[in-house]
Symmetry: D2
Amino acid sequence: MKELRFPLVALNLKVYGEALGEGALRLSKVAEKVAEEFDVGILVAPPLLSLKTIAETVEIPVFSQHVDPYSPGGHTGSVLAEDIKEAGAQGSLLNHSEKRMLLADIGAALDRLRRNGLKSILCTDTVETTRAGAALGPDIIAIEPPELIGTGIPVSKAKPEVVVGAVEAVRRINPGVRVLCGAGISSGDDVAKAIELGAEGVLLASAYVRAREPERVLSEMAEKAVKAWEKRP
Amino acid sequence: MKELRFPLVALNLKVYGEALGEGALRLSKVAEKVAEEFDVGILVAPPLLSLKTIAETVEIPVFSQHVDPYSPGGHTGSVLAEDIKEAGAQGSLLNHSEKRMLLADIGAALDRLRRNGLKSILCTDTVETTRAGAALGPDIIAIEPPELIGTGIPVSKAKPEVVVGAVEAVRRINPGVRVLCGAGISSGDDVAKAIELGAEGVLLASAYVRAREPERVLSEMAEKAVKAWEKRP
Amino acid sequence: MKELRFPLVALNLKVYGEALGEGALRLSKVAEKVAEEFDVGILVAPPLLSLKTIAETVEIPVFSQHVDPYSPGGHTGSVLAEDIKEAGAQGSLLNHSEKRMLLADIGAALDRLRRNGLKSILCTDTVETTRAGAALGPDIIAIEPPELIGTGIPVSKAKPEVVVGAVEAVRRINPGVRVLCGAGISSGDDVAKAIELGAEGVLLASAYVRAREPERVLSEMAEKAVKAWEKRP
Amino acid sequence: MKELRFPLVALNLKVYGEALGEGALRLSKVAEKVAEEFDVGILVAPPLLSLKTIAETVEIPVFSQHVDPYSPGGHTGSVLAEDIKEAGAQGSLLNHSEKRMLLADIGAALDRLRRNGLKSILCTDTVETTRAGAALGPDIIAIEPPELIGTGIPVSKAKPEVVVGAVEAVRRINPGVRVLCGAGISSGDDVAKAIELGAEGVLLASAYVRAREPERVLSEMAEKAVKAWEKRP
């Protein structure tokens, strides 16, 4: 099932050595298997050069890690919404802390995604920029305080007020937008905590990609995500 | 009087040949004179290297053309809010179409301005990004469709719906934020039209800086701005 | 034959509508056919998302349109040398005028390509930056005065002194580096002229990608390239 | 004396809190005093907003921390060579590791400086990019391995081979270019060591700007620089 489902565990494979070539395929198949087993939303964002292969192979949503704000034309080295669609993917991350975008380009890139029937996960860094992001109307916002990315210190525990603040800000500005939280998410408990704080899922990378046993880690997250989701008011 | 007043004619001197060195001083003094004569708000944003001199000389608000998102530290070649304040200026433009910024940096730069008691004019390009900009809470938003900048085709006439849309969007998201419009503003009529559409002033550059008779041009704008302002409902 | 051969016609498919998805495949197969027929060097640089598919399909050199300066790791949305190699491609363009890079990043990206056994085509814009580029030791430099890109006015005719100057500069600084010229190359005559001026081939995009009859255009270029090559002193 | 002299101690004041407003003036006057006392070359690069004031006050060379590649025109927030000259300064740093530039822009910015009779200090990070930088013909290259900037671990001791390699590379490519080294330079001994390795001076920032006794630190550097300079073969 290629549609987005919530709670959602969004897996950004980045370009870790473990995620290149065959690695992307292996990690995406594990994600697909866990999604089926636990009946939970899981999406993968593989390296750009593997996007097409992964999108053709797995039955979960596949996202690009980045999208440029252009229409087809003379834009050497760019990633277009048209081409993401053509590759069979369902949408794109944009403005990740490792690939920040100009405000004007975020606006244009979201427009390009929409016109191509694709979904968007817009990354933001603070409650303030989350508010701005919500005003741009992406499908999903993933708030990630950059100072916690890759640390193993989960935002949901270290900065719960940022998650709660983001959820509230989005609700006020544009209640149709879903909120994920990211940065430091490493365990099922971190995921559960995120959902308790009002997020509808998480965005994570190294804790899955670089795990010794990715399937075990993801299964635990999926299981706890479902349980936390059921307890929501 | 160094405080912001409305209607406001904001003059971006850019780095036109006419605005370097003595030129910045001359153009800023003309602006000061017209502001007094017509009892209207006028501000100047001179080239960075003239900011201090101009701020020390004229009795109208002086703005930087850009501000970086950093605190004092190791940031070679940057323009800090602390230094803008130290120079005696009142605030800064940011995210001009010729100096676009990352969303994350806009959020941080606005924060830096606020903490230093400085005012902000955030430039945006579409109704969408204006909405996002308003959510970030600058003092003023200046909407400028980039395709009209420098053309002499005024946004207030060519794309009135953009001005109206921006005004409405801001009112809904963050009514404390003032709206200017820019791009192609060349005459008093363009200014009047902008105010009729709901803007509280204009942001312009070449029509003033490169005019044969800058004082005549600005006087006409000031006069018509005041008249249009009085007729506002 | 996946090795680089000279004279070389390097085809940058950019992200023109004609070059997305199936288009990239079609245009790459035509290039392969012409390369065989005329026994001339032709390479294609397809859109990033098609790189792997094209590299797996055609028997001519396939290049990425861009490469980032990073090693595998946390670099969301980046294109790594490791992944270009994994995809089966032979090298990468870098610093195209539509994807300019920092000097420091060009140095690092060339290093990444070398360590992965990949070839490089470094784009430059003037004789000066060609000299700098040559000092960095790429395999090939493609000089393209940006003001002529996409115009149909060939650099080999409009600015022969730039081509000659680039060839001489490279010879003096780093004679192992090959020189292509680009910008406005539209016909077999333009290609022949480039070779007469000392270039060892051309880099082109729209004249091939957007041609009504790409095969005819490319065949004519290949034919004239070979003839001009034979006449070289 | 506003002309460049060697050995040269180039002081980048960055935008440290100690270097804003009056701080820039104080630190520049100390530099002027030490330059006279020890009869040695010292230059200061103050924050942009203080450039004019400093250039009008001290009798040593004053440099901008950055220069953009543009001619006068519509380039909001840019720093032009024309304006640096107008401010009375003698030249500019460019491509500092905290303000990296595109290769194409470095070429154009150097051209802008030259046409305005200004001097250039081009920062580079490796022997490779130093070679490329030398080919662009700046007046001075300052090689600074970025990983050592601000650490207090001097490049002249930690990576002598980088300094030697840079000096040799420049000599081979463009012997008219002078070489400074930077990063971690904290004491007179570091300066002496740099000169022994073939550099004609140093570029430093925090060790001077943030020193408890800047005059003492700089005097010691000046003294040891002169001694090392006299011993040169």
